[in-house]
Protein backbone atom coordinates (compact mmCIF):
# COMPACT_ATOMS: atom_id res chain seq x y z
CA UNK A 1 0.00 0.00 0.00
CA UNK A 2 2.72 2.47 0.92
CA UNK A 3 4.64 1.73 -2.23
CA UNK A 4 1.58 2.54 -4.32
CA UNK A 5 1.19 5.88 -2.58
CA UNK A 6 4.78 6.75 -3.41
CA UNK A 7 4.27 5.73 -7.05
CA UNK A 8 1.25 7.95 -7.31
CA UNK A 9 3.02 10.95 -5.81
CA UNK A 10 5.99 10.43 -8.12
CA UNK A 11 3.71 10.37 -11.16
CA UNK A 12 1.79 13.39 -10.02
CA UNK A 13 5.02 15.20 -9.28
CA UNK A 14 6.59 14.47 -12.63
CA UNK A 15 3.39 15.48 -14.44
CA UNK A 16 3.34 18.76 -12.57
CA UNK A 17 7.01 19.25 -13.28
CA UNK A 18 6.56 18.80 -17.03
CA UNK A 19 3.57 21.11 -17.01
CA UNK A 20 5.28 23.85 -14.99
CA UNK A 21 8.37 23.61 -17.15
CA UNK A 22 6.45 24.06 -20.39
CA UNK A 23 4.18 26.76 -18.98
CA UNK A 24 7.06 28.79 -17.60
CA UNK A 25 9.14 28.38 -20.75
CA UNK A 26 6.13 29.69 -22.66
CA UNK A 27 5.71 32.55 -20.21
CA UNK A 28 9.28 33.78 -20.64
CA UNK A 29 9.00 33.33 -24.40
CA UNK A 30 11.38 30.40 -24.98
CA UNK A 31 8.46 28.42 -26.41
CA UNK A 32 6.51 30.75 -28.67
CA UNK A 33 2.77 30.68 -29.38
CA UNK A 34 3.25 28.65 -32.51
CA UNK A 35 4.95 25.83 -30.64
CA UNK A 36 2.44 26.08 -27.80
CA UNK A 37 -0.33 25.60 -30.34
CA UNK A 38 1.56 22.66 -31.79
CA UNK A 39 1.98 21.11 -28.35
CA UNK A 40 -1.74 21.57 -27.74
CA UNK A 41 -2.60 19.91 -31.04
CA UNK A 42 -0.22 17.09 -30.14
CA UNK A 43 -2.07 16.79 -26.83
CA UNK A 44 -5.39 16.33 -28.60
CA UNK A 45 -3.89 13.82 -31.01
CA UNK A 46 -2.40 11.92 -28.10
CA UNK A 47 -5.75 11.78 -26.31
CA UNK A 48 -7.45 10.35 -29.40
CA UNK A 49 -4.56 7.99 -30.11
CA UNK A 50 -4.61 6.77 -26.49
CA UNK A 51 -8.29 5.97 -26.90
CA UNK A 52 -7.50 4.10 -30.10
CA UNK A 53 -4.68 2.22 -28.42
CA UNK A 54 -7.12 0.99 -25.79
CA UNK A 55 -9.23 -0.79 -28.39
CA UNK A 56 -6.54 -1.65 -30.94
CA UNK A 57 -3.38 -2.07 -28.89
CA UNK A 58 -4.80 -3.51 -25.68
CA UNK A 59 -7.98 -5.22 -26.85
CA UNK A 60 -6.56 -6.23 -30.23
CA UNK A 61 -9.50 -4.96 -32.30
CA UNK A 62 -8.50 -2.75 -35.19
CA UNK A 63 -10.64 0.40 -35.46
CA UNK A 64 -10.35 2.62 -38.52
CA UNK A 65 -12.96 5.28 -37.79
CA UNK A 66 -11.75 7.25 -34.81
CA UNK A 67 -11.98 10.47 -36.79
CA UNK A 68 -15.72 9.77 -36.80
CA UNK A 69 -15.92 9.58 -33.01
CA UNK A 70 -13.71 12.60 -32.75
CA UNK A 71 -15.97 14.57 -35.08
CA UNK A 72 -19.04 13.59 -33.06
CA UNK A 73 -17.39 14.91 -29.92
CA UNK A 74 -16.20 18.02 -31.72
CA UNK A 75 -19.57 18.92 -33.21
CA UNK A 76 -21.49 18.07 -30.05
CA UNK A 77 -19.25 20.25 -27.91
CA UNK A 78 -19.26 23.11 -30.44
CA UNK A 79 -23.03 23.01 -30.86
CA UNK A 80 -23.65 23.03 -27.11
CA UNK A 81 -21.26 25.93 -26.65
CA UNK A 82 -22.60 27.94 -29.57
CA UNK A 83 -26.30 27.14 -29.65
CA UNK A 84 -27.04 26.39 -26.00
CA UNK A 85 -24.40 28.70 -24.50
CA UNK A 86 -23.28 25.90 -22.25
CA UNK A 87 -19.83 26.39 -20.66
CA UNK A 88 -16.95 24.62 -22.32
CA UNK A 89 -16.26 21.95 -19.70
CA UNK A 90 -19.71 20.32 -19.68
CA UNK A 91 -19.87 20.67 -23.47
CA UNK A 92 -16.64 18.76 -23.92
CA UNK A 93 -17.85 16.07 -21.52
CA UNK A 94 -21.16 15.87 -23.38
CA UNK A 95 -19.17 15.44 -26.60
CA UNK A 96 -17.46 12.46 -25.02
CA UNK A 97 -20.74 11.00 -23.81
CA UNK A 98 -22.53 11.31 -27.16
CA UNK A 99 -19.54 9.73 -28.85
CA UNK A 100 -19.61 6.90 -26.30
CA UNK A 101 -23.28 6.29 -27.08
CA UNK A 102 -22.40 5.96 -30.76
CA UNK A 103 -19.53 3.69 -29.83
CA UNK A 104 -21.86 1.45 -27.92
CA UNK A 105 -24.36 1.37 -30.79
CA UNK A 106 -21.69 0.48 -33.36
CA UNK A 107 -19.86 -1.95 -31.14
CA UNK A 108 -22.91 -3.90 -30.10
CA UNK A 109 -23.54 -5.62 -33.44
CA UNK A 110 -19.95 -5.84 -34.65
CA UNK A 111 -17.86 -6.81 -31.66
CA UNK A 112 -19.42 -10.25 -31.58
CA UNK A 113 -17.67 -10.94 -34.85
CA UNK A 114 -14.06 -11.95 -35.12
CA UNK A 115 -11.47 -10.73 -37.54
CA UNK A 116 -11.39 -7.56 -39.59
CA UNK A 117 -15.07 -6.78 -39.30
CA UNK A 118 -14.61 -4.06 -36.72
CA UNK A 119 -12.06 -2.39 -38.98
CA UNK A 120 -14.49 -2.37 -41.87
CA UNK A 121 -17.52 -1.25 -39.89
CA UNK A 122 -15.70 1.53 -38.12
CA UNK A 123 -14.34 2.69 -41.44
CA UNK A 124 -17.85 2.70 -42.88
CA UNK A 125 -19.16 4.42 -39.77
CA UNK A 126 -16.58 7.21 -40.10
CA UNK A 127 -17.68 7.80 -43.68
CA UNK A 128 -21.39 7.80 -42.80
CA UNK A 129 -20.82 10.33 -40.03
CA UNK A 130 -19.06 12.58 -42.51
CA UNK A 131 -21.94 12.38 -44.98
CA UNK A 132 -24.48 12.99 -42.23
CA UNK A 133 -22.57 15.99 -40.86
CA UNK A 134 -22.45 17.37 -44.38
CA UNK A 135 -26.20 17.05 -44.76
CA UNK A 136 -27.40 18.28 -41.36
CA UNK A 137 -26.95 21.85 -42.52
CA UNK A 138 -29.15 23.48 -39.89
CA UNK A 139 -27.12 22.05 -37.03
CA UNK A 140 -23.61 21.65 -38.39
CA UNK A 141 -23.39 24.24 -41.12
CA UNK A 142 -23.05 21.44 -43.67
CA UNK A 143 -20.07 21.43 -46.00
CA UNK A 144 -19.35 25.07 -45.24
CA UNK A 145 -18.45 23.97 -41.73
CA UNK A 146 -18.86 25.58 -38.36
CA UNK A 147 -16.93 28.80 -37.73
CA UNK A 148 -16.22 30.99 -34.74
CA UNK A 149 -16.30 28.36 -32.04
CA UNK A 150 -15.29 30.14 -28.81
CA UNK A 151 -11.81 29.31 -27.62
CA UNK A 152 -10.72 28.23 -24.14
CA UNK A 153 -9.83 31.78 -23.24
CA UNK A 154 -9.76 35.17 -24.82
CA UNK A 155 -7.82 37.52 -22.59
CA UNK A 156 -6.20 39.42 -25.45
CA UNK A 157 -2.76 38.39 -24.19
CA UNK A 158 -1.57 35.83 -26.75
CA UNK A 159 0.99 34.24 -24.50
CA UNK A 160 -1.46 33.85 -21.67
CA UNK A 161 -4.14 32.49 -24.01
CA UNK A 162 -1.72 29.93 -25.38
CA UNK A 163 -0.79 28.82 -21.87
CA UNK A 164 -4.44 28.53 -20.82
CA UNK A 165 -5.28 26.46 -23.90
CA UNK A 166 -2.35 24.21 -23.21
CA UNK A 167 -3.40 23.87 -19.56
CA UNK A 168 -6.87 22.64 -20.50
CA UNK A 169 -5.49 20.09 -22.85
CA UNK A 170 -2.79 18.99 -20.48
CA UNK A 171 -5.36 18.48 -17.73
CA UNK A 172 -7.51 16.31 -20.00
CA UNK A 173 -4.43 14.48 -21.19
CA UNK A 174 -3.49 13.60 -17.60
CA UNK A 175 -7.06 12.51 -16.85
CA UNK A 176 -7.12 10.31 -19.95
CA UNK A 177 -3.80 8.65 -19.16
CA UNK A 178 -4.81 8.09 -15.54
CA UNK A 179 -8.19 6.58 -16.45
CA UNK A 180 -6.94 4.29 -19.19
CA UNK A 181 -3.90 3.19 -17.25
CA UNK A 182 -5.93 2.46 -14.11
CA UNK A 183 -8.44 0.54 -16.19
CA UNK A 184 -5.75 -1.53 -17.86
CA UNK A 185 -4.00 -2.34 -14.60
CA UNK A 186 -7.06 -3.86 -12.95
CA UNK A 187 -8.93 -7.13 -13.11
CA UNK A 188 -11.33 -6.06 -15.89
CA UNK A 189 -8.39 -4.47 -17.71
CA UNK A 190 -6.46 -7.71 -17.65
CA UNK A 191 -9.43 -9.48 -19.16
CA UNK A 192 -9.51 -6.82 -21.88
CA UNK A 193 -5.88 -7.58 -22.67
CA UNK A 194 -6.54 -11.33 -22.57
CA UNK A 195 -9.01 -10.84 -25.41
CA UNK A 196 -6.11 -9.61 -27.53
CA UNK A 197 -3.96 -12.52 -26.43
CA UNK A 198 -6.39 -15.38 -26.96
CA UNK A 199 -10.12 -14.88 -27.15
CA UNK A 200 -11.02 -18.55 -26.91
CA UNK A 201 -8.83 -19.17 -23.89
CA UNK A 202 -10.32 -16.14 -22.18
CA UNK A 203 -13.91 -17.28 -22.78
CA UNK A 204 -13.01 -20.72 -21.52
CA UNK A 205 -11.86 -19.13 -18.26
CA UNK A 206 -15.37 -17.75 -17.74
CA UNK A 207 -14.91 -14.28 -19.22
CA UNK A 208 -17.64 -12.71 -21.32
CA UNK A 209 -15.27 -11.40 -23.98
CA UNK A 210 -17.94 -9.57 -25.99
CA UNK A 211 -18.88 -7.56 -22.94
CA UNK A 212 -15.28 -6.58 -22.30
CA UNK A 213 -14.78 -5.61 -25.91
CA UNK A 214 -17.88 -3.43 -25.58
CA UNK A 215 -16.49 -1.76 -22.47
CA UNK A 216 -13.15 -1.08 -24.13
CA UNK A 217 -14.78 0.21 -27.29
CA UNK A 218 -17.22 2.49 -25.48
CA UNK A 219 -14.51 3.95 -23.27
CA UNK A 220 -12.39 4.39 -26.39
CA UNK A 221 -15.18 6.26 -28.19
CA UNK A 222 -15.67 8.42 -25.10
CA UNK A 223 -12.10 9.66 -25.07
CA UNK A 224 -12.02 10.11 -28.83
CA UNK A 225 -15.09 12.33 -28.39
CA UNK A 226 -13.37 14.25 -25.57
CA UNK A 227 -10.41 14.77 -27.91
CA UNK A 228 -12.81 16.09 -30.53
CA UNK A 229 -14.47 18.51 -28.12
CA UNK A 230 -11.08 19.92 -27.13
CA UNK A 231 -10.11 20.11 -30.78
CA UNK A 232 -13.13 22.23 -31.66
CA UNK A 233 -12.24 24.82 -29.02
CA UNK A 234 -8.56 24.70 -29.90
CA UNK A 235 -8.95 25.23 -33.63
CA UNK A 236 -12.13 27.32 -33.62
CA UNK A 237 -13.71 25.91 -36.77
CA UNK A 238 -14.92 22.50 -37.93
CA UNK A 239 -15.44 21.03 -41.37
CA UNK A 240 -16.77 17.51 -41.99
CA UNK A 241 -14.26 16.86 -44.77
CA UNK A 242 -11.38 17.23 -42.30
CA UNK A 243 -12.50 14.11 -40.47
CA UNK A 244 -11.91 11.76 -43.35
CA UNK A 245 -10.46 8.28 -43.52
CA UNK A 246 -6.90 9.56 -43.74
CA UNK A 247 -7.47 11.47 -40.53
CA UNK A 248 -8.47 8.24 -38.79
CA UNK A 249 -5.33 6.65 -40.16
CA UNK A 250 -3.25 9.32 -38.42
CA UNK A 251 -4.28 7.98 -35.03
CA UNK A 252 -3.53 4.42 -36.04
CA UNK A 253 -0.11 5.61 -37.17
CA UNK A 254 0.55 7.37 -33.85
CA UNK A 255 -0.48 4.30 -31.86
CA UNK A 256 1.62 1.97 -34.00
CA UNK A 257 4.58 4.34 -34.10
CA UNK A 258 4.60 4.57 -30.32
CA UNK A 259 3.95 0.87 -29.87
CA UNK A 260 0.58 -0.87 -29.68
CA UNK A 261 -0.20 -1.64 -26.08
CA UNK A 262 2.03 1.07 -24.64
CA UNK A 263 0.52 4.25 -23.24
CA UNK A 264 3.82 6.06 -22.85
CA UNK A 265 4.64 4.92 -26.37
CA UNK A 266 1.51 6.65 -27.66
CA UNK A 267 2.55 9.85 -25.92
CA UNK A 268 5.95 9.74 -27.59
CA UNK A 269 4.40 8.67 -30.89
CA UNK A 270 1.96 11.58 -30.78
CA UNK A 271 4.72 14.10 -30.19
CA UNK A 272 6.94 12.67 -32.92
CA UNK A 273 4.03 12.47 -35.36
CA UNK A 274 2.75 16.00 -34.78
CA UNK A 275 6.16 17.59 -35.08
CA UNK A 276 7.25 15.42 -37.99
CA UNK A 277 4.09 16.30 -39.85
CA UNK A 278 4.82 19.97 -39.29
CA UNK A 279 8.42 19.66 -40.39
CA UNK A 280 7.55 17.57 -43.44
CA UNK A 281 5.63 20.58 -44.73
CA UNK A 282 8.83 21.86 -46.36
CA UNK A 283 8.45 18.97 -48.79
CA UNK A 284 5.35 20.58 -50.27
CA UNK A 285 3.51 18.21 -52.55
CA UNK A 286 5.90 15.41 -51.75
CA UNK A 287 4.97 15.47 -48.09
CA UNK A 288 2.33 12.76 -48.26
CA UNK A 289 4.42 10.59 -50.56
CA UNK A 290 7.23 10.64 -48.04
CA UNK A 291 4.73 10.08 -45.23
CA UNK A 292 3.35 7.00 -46.99
CA UNK A 293 6.82 5.64 -47.68
CA UNK A 294 7.86 6.17 -44.08
CA UNK A 295 4.74 4.35 -42.98
CA UNK A 296 5.56 1.34 -45.15
CA UNK A 297 9.20 1.26 -44.06
CA UNK A 298 8.16 1.60 -40.43
CA UNK A 299 5.78 -1.35 -40.73
CA UNK A 300 8.33 -3.56 -42.43
CA UNK A 301 11.44 -2.78 -40.42
CA UNK A 302 10.20 -1.52 -37.08
CA UNK A 303 7.07 -3.42 -36.26
CA UNK A 304 7.05 -2.85 -32.53
CA UNK A 305 7.31 0.95 -32.71
CA UNK A 306 9.14 3.10 -30.21
CA UNK A 307 8.14 1.26 -27.04
CA UNK A 308 6.80 -2.11 -28.19
CA UNK A 309 4.24 -2.99 -25.52
CA UNK A 310 6.46 -1.81 -22.70
CA UNK A 311 5.95 1.29 -20.63
CA UNK A 312 8.43 3.98 -19.88
CA UNK A 313 8.23 4.05 -16.11
CA UNK A 314 9.10 7.24 -14.32
CA UNK A 315 9.05 5.60 -10.95
CA UNK A 316 11.23 2.80 -12.25
CA UNK A 317 13.62 5.35 -13.68
CA UNK A 318 13.79 7.29 -10.42
CA UNK A 319 14.38 4.07 -8.45
CA UNK A 320 17.14 2.99 -10.76
CA UNK A 321 18.88 6.34 -10.39
CA UNK A 322 18.61 6.19 -6.63
CA UNK A 323 19.84 2.63 -6.46
CA UNK A 324 22.84 3.47 -8.61
CA UNK A 325 23.48 6.52 -6.44
CA UNK A 326 23.29 4.31 -3.37
CA UNK A 327 25.78 1.85 -4.73
CA UNK A 328 28.25 4.55 -5.71
CA UNK A 329 28.39 5.71 -2.12
Amino acid sequence: MKKKGVDFLLLLGSGLLVYCLIASLAWVGVIDEYYMQLLSVAGVYIIVALSLNLITGFTGQLALGHAGFMSIGAYTAAIFVMRASLPLLPSVLLGGLVSAVFGFAIGFPTLRLRGDYLAITTLGFGEIIRVVLNNLEGLTGGSAGLQGIPSFSDTGNYTLDAIIKFSWIFAFFVATVATISNLIRSSPGRVIVSVREDEIASTSMGNDVTRYKMIAFTVSAFFAGIGGGLFSALIGYLNPSDFNFLYSVNFVVIAVLGGLGSLTGTVLGGLVFTFAQEWLRVLGDFRLVVFGLLLILLMIFWQSGIMGNKELSITGLVRRIFRKGGRAQ
Binding site: A119, L123, G124, N134, V253
Partner: protein, 300 residues
Protein backbone atom coordinates in the same frame (compact mmCIF):
# COMPACT_ATOMS: atom_id res chain seq x y z
CA UNK B 1 -39.77 2.85 -66.73
CA UNK B 2 -37.60 5.18 -64.65
CA UNK B 3 -37.02 2.25 -62.38
CA UNK B 4 -35.95 -0.02 -65.26
CA UNK B 5 -33.67 2.70 -66.56
CA UNK B 6 -32.02 3.04 -63.15
CA UNK B 7 -31.74 -0.72 -62.99
CA UNK B 8 -29.86 -0.80 -66.30
CA UNK B 9 -27.56 1.98 -65.16
CA UNK B 10 -27.06 0.17 -61.88
CA UNK B 11 -26.12 -3.11 -63.49
CA UNK B 12 -23.63 -1.40 -65.73
CA UNK B 13 -22.01 0.45 -62.83
CA UNK B 14 -22.25 -2.68 -60.71
CA UNK B 15 -20.34 -4.76 -63.21
CA UNK B 16 -17.41 -2.35 -62.76
CA UNK B 17 -17.67 -2.75 -58.99
CA UNK B 18 -17.72 -6.51 -59.51
CA UNK B 19 -14.43 -6.41 -61.38
CA UNK B 20 -12.81 -4.42 -58.59
CA UNK B 21 -14.41 -6.55 -55.89
CA UNK B 22 -12.93 -9.70 -57.41
CA UNK B 23 -9.45 -8.29 -56.78
CA UNK B 24 -10.25 -7.63 -53.14
CA UNK B 25 -11.82 -10.98 -52.59
CA UNK B 26 -9.06 -12.99 -54.26
CA UNK B 27 -6.33 -11.25 -52.32
CA UNK B 28 -8.24 -11.51 -49.06
CA UNK B 29 -8.99 -15.14 -49.72
CA UNK B 30 -5.31 -15.92 -50.00
CA UNK B 31 -3.35 -13.61 -47.73
CA UNK B 32 -6.19 -12.35 -45.47
CA UNK B 33 -5.27 -8.76 -46.24
CA UNK B 34 -7.69 -5.94 -46.99
CA UNK B 35 -5.65 -4.51 -49.83
CA UNK B 36 -6.46 -0.85 -49.42
CA UNK B 37 -4.30 0.04 -52.40
CA UNK B 38 -6.57 -1.86 -54.75
CA UNK B 39 -8.80 1.16 -55.38
CA UNK B 40 -5.75 3.08 -56.52
CA UNK B 41 -5.00 0.39 -59.06
CA UNK B 42 -8.29 1.44 -60.62
CA UNK B 43 -6.90 4.97 -60.85
CA UNK B 44 -3.75 3.70 -62.55
CA UNK B 45 -5.86 1.75 -65.03
CA UNK B 46 -7.91 4.85 -65.72
CA UNK B 47 -4.80 6.91 -66.48
CA UNK B 48 -3.52 4.15 -68.78
CA UNK B 49 -6.84 4.29 -70.62
CA UNK B 50 -6.60 8.07 -70.82
CA UNK B 51 -3.19 7.93 -72.52
CA UNK B 52 -4.12 5.00 -74.75
CA UNK B 53 -7.05 7.00 -76.09
CA UNK B 54 -4.86 10.08 -76.53
CA UNK B 55 -2.27 8.19 -78.56
CA UNK B 56 -4.84 6.34 -80.60
CA UNK B 57 -6.84 9.48 -81.31
CA UNK B 58 -7.94 9.73 -84.94
CA UNK B 59 -5.37 7.33 -86.29
CA UNK B 60 -6.27 3.75 -85.47
CA UNK B 61 -9.69 2.13 -85.60
CA UNK B 62 -11.79 2.80 -82.46
CA UNK B 63 -12.05 -0.87 -81.62
CA UNK B 64 -8.29 -1.20 -81.73
CA UNK B 65 -7.95 1.89 -79.57
CA UNK B 66 -10.20 0.42 -76.92
CA UNK B 67 -8.45 -2.95 -77.07
CA UNK B 68 -5.11 -1.17 -76.72
CA UNK B 69 -6.44 0.78 -73.75
CA UNK B 70 -7.47 -2.41 -71.97
CA UNK B 71 -4.24 -4.23 -72.71
CA UNK B 72 -2.10 -1.33 -71.55
CA UNK B 73 -4.16 -0.79 -68.41
CA UNK B 74 -4.24 -4.46 -67.48
CA UNK B 75 -0.53 -5.01 -68.14
CA UNK B 76 0.63 -1.98 -66.19
CA UNK B 77 -1.79 -2.59 -63.34
CA UNK B 78 -0.71 -6.21 -63.05
CA UNK B 79 2.91 -5.10 -62.98
CA UNK B 80 2.24 -2.51 -60.28
CA UNK B 81 0.21 -5.06 -58.33
CA UNK B 82 3.00 -7.60 -58.34
CA UNK B 83 5.66 -5.02 -57.48
CA UNK B 84 3.61 -3.86 -54.50
CA UNK B 85 3.11 -7.41 -53.34
CA UNK B 86 6.79 -8.34 -53.62
CA UNK B 87 8.18 -5.22 -52.02
CA UNK B 88 5.60 -4.25 -49.44
CA UNK B 89 3.38 -7.17 -48.48
CA UNK B 90 5.64 -10.18 -48.80
CA UNK B 91 7.99 -9.15 -45.97
CA UNK B 92 4.94 -8.91 -43.72
CA UNK B 93 3.27 -12.19 -44.48
CA UNK B 94 3.97 -13.54 -41.00
CA UNK B 95 3.69 -10.22 -39.20
CA UNK B 96 0.61 -9.21 -37.22
CA UNK B 97 -2.31 -8.48 -39.53
CA UNK B 98 -2.53 -4.87 -38.44
CA UNK B 99 0.97 -4.21 -39.75
CA UNK B 100 0.08 -5.51 -43.19
CA UNK B 101 -3.11 -3.48 -43.17
CA UNK B 102 -1.31 -0.27 -42.28
CA UNK B 103 1.24 -1.03 -44.97
CA UNK B 104 -1.59 -1.32 -47.47
CA UNK B 105 -2.86 2.06 -46.34
CA UNK B 106 0.68 3.41 -46.75
CA UNK B 107 0.86 2.02 -50.27
CA UNK B 108 -2.45 3.67 -51.04
CA UNK B 109 -1.19 7.03 -49.75
CA UNK B 110 1.97 6.69 -51.84
CA UNK B 111 0.07 5.80 -55.00
CA UNK B 112 -2.43 8.63 -54.68
CA UNK B 113 0.03 11.30 -53.76
CA UNK B 114 2.70 9.89 -56.03
CA UNK B 115 0.22 10.31 -58.88
CA UNK B 116 -0.28 13.90 -57.81
CA UNK B 117 3.38 14.77 -58.19
CA UNK B 118 4.12 12.74 -61.32
CA UNK B 119 3.97 15.31 -64.14
CA UNK B 120 1.95 13.24 -66.61
CA UNK B 121 -0.70 12.48 -64.02
CA UNK B 122 -0.77 15.57 -61.79
CA UNK B 123 -3.25 16.90 -59.26
CA UNK B 124 -5.78 18.37 -61.69
CA UNK B 125 -8.71 16.41 -63.13
CA UNK B 126 -8.30 15.37 -66.76
CA UNK B 127 -10.98 14.84 -69.37
CA UNK B 128 -10.87 11.42 -71.06
CA UNK B 129 -11.37 11.58 -74.83
CA UNK B 130 -13.43 8.51 -75.62
CA UNK B 131 -13.26 7.44 -79.29
CA UNK B 132 -16.18 8.95 -81.25
CA UNK B 133 -17.50 5.55 -82.28
CA UNK B 134 -18.22 4.75 -78.61
CA UNK B 135 -20.24 7.88 -77.93
CA UNK B 136 -23.98 7.91 -78.26
CA UNK B 137 -26.82 5.75 -77.06
CA UNK B 138 -29.15 2.98 -78.22
CA UNK B 139 -32.84 3.48 -77.59
CA UNK B 140 -34.87 0.41 -76.71
CA UNK B 141 -38.48 1.33 -76.24
CA UNK B 142 -38.41 3.89 -73.48
CA UNK B 143 -34.98 2.80 -72.28
CA UNK B 144 -31.74 4.36 -73.32
CA UNK B 145 -28.53 2.47 -73.02
CA UNK B 146 -25.25 4.07 -73.96
CA UNK B 147 -22.63 2.37 -76.08
CA UNK B 148 -20.20 2.71 -73.21
CA UNK B 149 -22.62 0.83 -70.98
CA UNK B 150 -22.89 -1.95 -73.53
CA UNK B 151 -19.12 -2.11 -73.74
CA UNK B 152 -18.90 -2.13 -69.95
CA UNK B 153 -21.31 -5.02 -69.59
CA UNK B 154 -19.74 -7.01 -72.41
CA UNK B 155 -16.17 -6.53 -71.21
CA UNK B 156 -16.99 -7.36 -67.60
CA UNK B 157 -18.89 -10.44 -68.65
CA UNK B 158 -16.04 -11.70 -70.83
CA UNK B 159 -13.45 -11.05 -68.14
CA UNK B 160 -15.52 -12.78 -65.47
CA UNK B 161 -16.16 -15.82 -67.64
CA UNK B 162 -12.46 -16.09 -68.47
CA UNK B 163 -11.53 -15.74 -64.82
CA UNK B 164 -14.03 -18.35 -63.68
CA UNK B 165 -12.79 -20.78 -66.30
CA UNK B 166 -9.21 -20.08 -65.27
CA UNK B 167 -9.84 -20.64 -61.57
CA UNK B 168 -11.99 -23.73 -62.09
CA UNK B 169 -10.18 -25.50 -64.90
CA UNK B 170 -6.47 -24.75 -64.95
CA UNK B 171 -3.80 -26.22 -62.72
CA UNK B 172 -2.83 -22.78 -61.48
CA UNK B 173 -6.45 -22.02 -60.71
CA UNK B 174 -6.75 -25.16 -58.65
CA UNK B 175 -3.55 -24.29 -56.82
CA UNK B 176 -5.02 -20.88 -56.07
CA UNK B 177 -8.08 -22.44 -54.55
CA UNK B 178 -5.92 -24.80 -52.52
CA UNK B 179 -3.78 -21.96 -51.15
CA UNK B 180 -6.89 -19.99 -50.32
CA UNK B 181 -8.32 -22.94 -48.44
CA UNK B 182 -5.23 -23.69 -46.38
CA UNK B 183 -1.92 -22.05 -47.14
CA UNK B 184 0.21 -24.31 -44.97
CA UNK B 185 -1.32 -27.49 -46.29
CA UNK B 186 -0.90 -26.27 -49.87
CA UNK B 187 2.75 -25.54 -49.18
CA UNK B 188 3.21 -29.07 -47.85
CA UNK B 189 1.60 -30.45 -50.98
CA UNK B 190 4.37 -28.83 -52.99
CA UNK B 191 2.52 -25.80 -54.28
CA UNK B 192 4.75 -22.75 -54.60
CA UNK B 193 2.81 -20.36 -52.42
CA UNK B 194 4.89 -17.33 -53.39
CA UNK B 195 4.16 -17.85 -57.05
CA UNK B 196 0.44 -18.30 -56.43
CA UNK B 197 0.25 -15.18 -54.30
CA UNK B 198 1.99 -13.16 -57.03
CA UNK B 199 -0.33 -14.53 -59.70
CA UNK B 200 -3.32 -13.67 -57.53
CA UNK B 201 -2.15 -10.10 -57.12
CA UNK B 202 -1.44 -9.87 -60.85
CA UNK B 203 -4.88 -11.11 -61.85
CA UNK B 204 -6.67 -9.01 -59.25
CA UNK B 205 -4.78 -5.90 -60.32
CA UNK B 206 -5.31 -6.59 -64.02
CA UNK B 207 -9.05 -6.78 -63.44
CA UNK B 208 -8.82 -3.60 -61.37
CA UNK B 209 -6.98 -1.91 -64.25
CA UNK B 210 -9.63 -2.99 -66.75
CA UNK B 211 -12.26 -1.67 -64.34
CA UNK B 212 -10.34 1.60 -64.33
CA UNK B 213 -10.67 1.97 -68.10
CA UNK B 214 -14.38 1.20 -67.90
CA UNK B 215 -14.86 3.59 -65.01
CA UNK B 216 -13.04 6.34 -66.90
CA UNK B 217 -15.26 5.77 -69.94
CA UNK B 218 -18.41 5.98 -67.80
CA UNK B 219 -17.25 8.97 -65.76
CA UNK B 220 -14.69 10.65 -68.02
CA UNK B 221 -13.12 13.01 -65.45
CA UNK B 222 -10.13 11.35 -63.84
CA UNK B 223 -7.83 12.40 -60.98
CA UNK B 224 -5.41 10.76 -58.54
CA UNK B 225 -8.03 10.29 -55.84
CA UNK B 226 -10.68 8.82 -58.10
CA UNK B 227 -10.08 5.26 -56.89
CA UNK B 228 -10.93 5.77 -53.24
CA UNK B 229 -14.72 5.70 -53.31
CA UNK B 230 -15.21 2.98 -55.94
CA UNK B 231 -12.52 1.01 -54.11
CA UNK B 232 -14.39 1.21 -50.81
CA UNK B 233 -17.68 0.35 -52.45
CA UNK B 234 -16.18 -2.59 -54.24
CA UNK B 235 -14.74 -3.74 -50.97
CA UNK B 236 -18.19 -3.61 -49.41
CA UNK B 237 -19.42 -5.57 -52.41
CA UNK B 238 -16.83 -8.22 -51.68
CA UNK B 239 -17.96 -8.42 -48.05
CA UNK B 240 -21.57 -8.55 -49.20
CA UNK B 241 -20.88 -11.46 -51.50
CA UNK B 242 -18.82 -13.24 -48.87
CA UNK B 243 -15.19 -12.30 -48.72
CA UNK B 244 -13.04 -14.93 -50.44
CA UNK B 245 -15.79 -15.96 -52.84
CA UNK B 246 -15.36 -14.90 -56.48
CA UNK B 247 -18.99 -15.44 -57.54
CA UNK B 248 -19.96 -13.62 -54.35
CA UNK B 249 -17.89 -10.61 -55.39
CA UNK B 250 -19.58 -10.59 -58.79
CA UNK B 251 -23.07 -10.60 -57.29
CA UNK B 252 -22.07 -8.17 -54.55
CA UNK B 253 -20.78 -5.69 -57.12
CA UNK B 254 -24.05 -5.77 -59.05
CA UNK B 255 -26.06 -5.28 -55.87
CA UNK B 256 -23.92 -2.32 -54.84
CA UNK B 257 -24.26 -0.73 -58.27
CA UNK B 258 -28.01 -1.12 -58.37
CA UNK B 259 -28.40 0.08 -54.78
CA UNK B 260 -26.36 3.15 -55.61
CA UNK B 261 -28.23 4.18 -58.74
CA UNK B 262 -31.58 3.53 -57.11
CA UNK B 263 -30.63 5.67 -54.13
CA UNK B 264 -29.43 8.42 -56.43
CA UNK B 265 -32.53 8.20 -58.55
CA UNK B 266 -35.21 7.92 -55.91
CA UNK B 267 -33.85 9.15 -52.58
CA UNK B 268 -30.96 11.56 -52.64
CA UNK B 269 -27.72 11.68 -54.57
CA UNK B 270 -25.98 13.11 -51.53
CA UNK B 271 -26.81 10.08 -49.43
CA UNK B 272 -25.70 7.47 -51.99
CA UNK B 273 -22.31 6.99 -50.32
CA UNK B 274 -23.82 6.69 -46.87
CA UNK B 275 -26.23 4.06 -48.19
CA UNK B 276 -23.31 1.95 -49.36
CA UNK B 277 -21.91 1.85 -45.85
CA UNK B 278 -25.36 1.38 -44.40
CA UNK B 279 -25.66 -1.76 -46.51
CA UNK B 280 -22.35 -2.94 -45.14
CA UNK B 281 -23.46 -2.57 -41.55
CA UNK B 282 -26.74 -4.33 -42.25
CA UNK B 283 -25.00 -7.31 -43.87
CA UNK B 284 -22.62 -7.63 -40.98
CA UNK B 285 -25.59 -7.69 -38.67
CA UNK B 286 -27.67 -10.16 -40.57
CA UNK B 287 -25.17 -12.40 -42.25
CA UNK B 288 -21.58 -11.59 -41.36
CA UNK B 289 -20.13 -14.26 -43.62
CA UNK B 290 -21.81 -12.61 -46.63
CA UNK B 291 -24.04 -14.07 -49.29
CA UNK B 292 -21.82 -16.93 -50.43
CA UNK B 293 -19.11 -16.88 -47.80
CA UNK B 294 -18.39 -19.73 -45.46
CA UNK B 295 -18.24 -18.87 -41.80
CA UNK B 296 -14.70 -19.70 -40.87
CA UNK B 297 -14.32 -21.23 -37.44
CA UNK B 298 -11.02 -21.30 -35.69
CA UNK B 299 -9.66 -24.74 -34.89
CA UNK B 300 -9.06 -25.14 -31.20
Amino acid sequence: MVFLQQLVNGISLGSVYSLIAIGYTMVYGIVKLINFAHGDILMIGAFCGYYAFLWAQGSASPVLAVAFAFLLAMAISALVGVIIEKTCYKPLRNAPRINALITAIGVSIVLENGARVIPFMGPNPRQVSIPEAFKGVFALGGLTISKVQVLTLATSLVLMVVLTAFVQLTRTGKAMRAVSHDMDAAQLMGISVNRIVSITFAIGAALGGAAGVLYAMNFPMINPYMGIMPGLKAFIAAVFGGIGSIPGAMIGGLVMGVAETLTKGFISSKLADAVAFGILIVILLVRPSGLLGKSAREKV
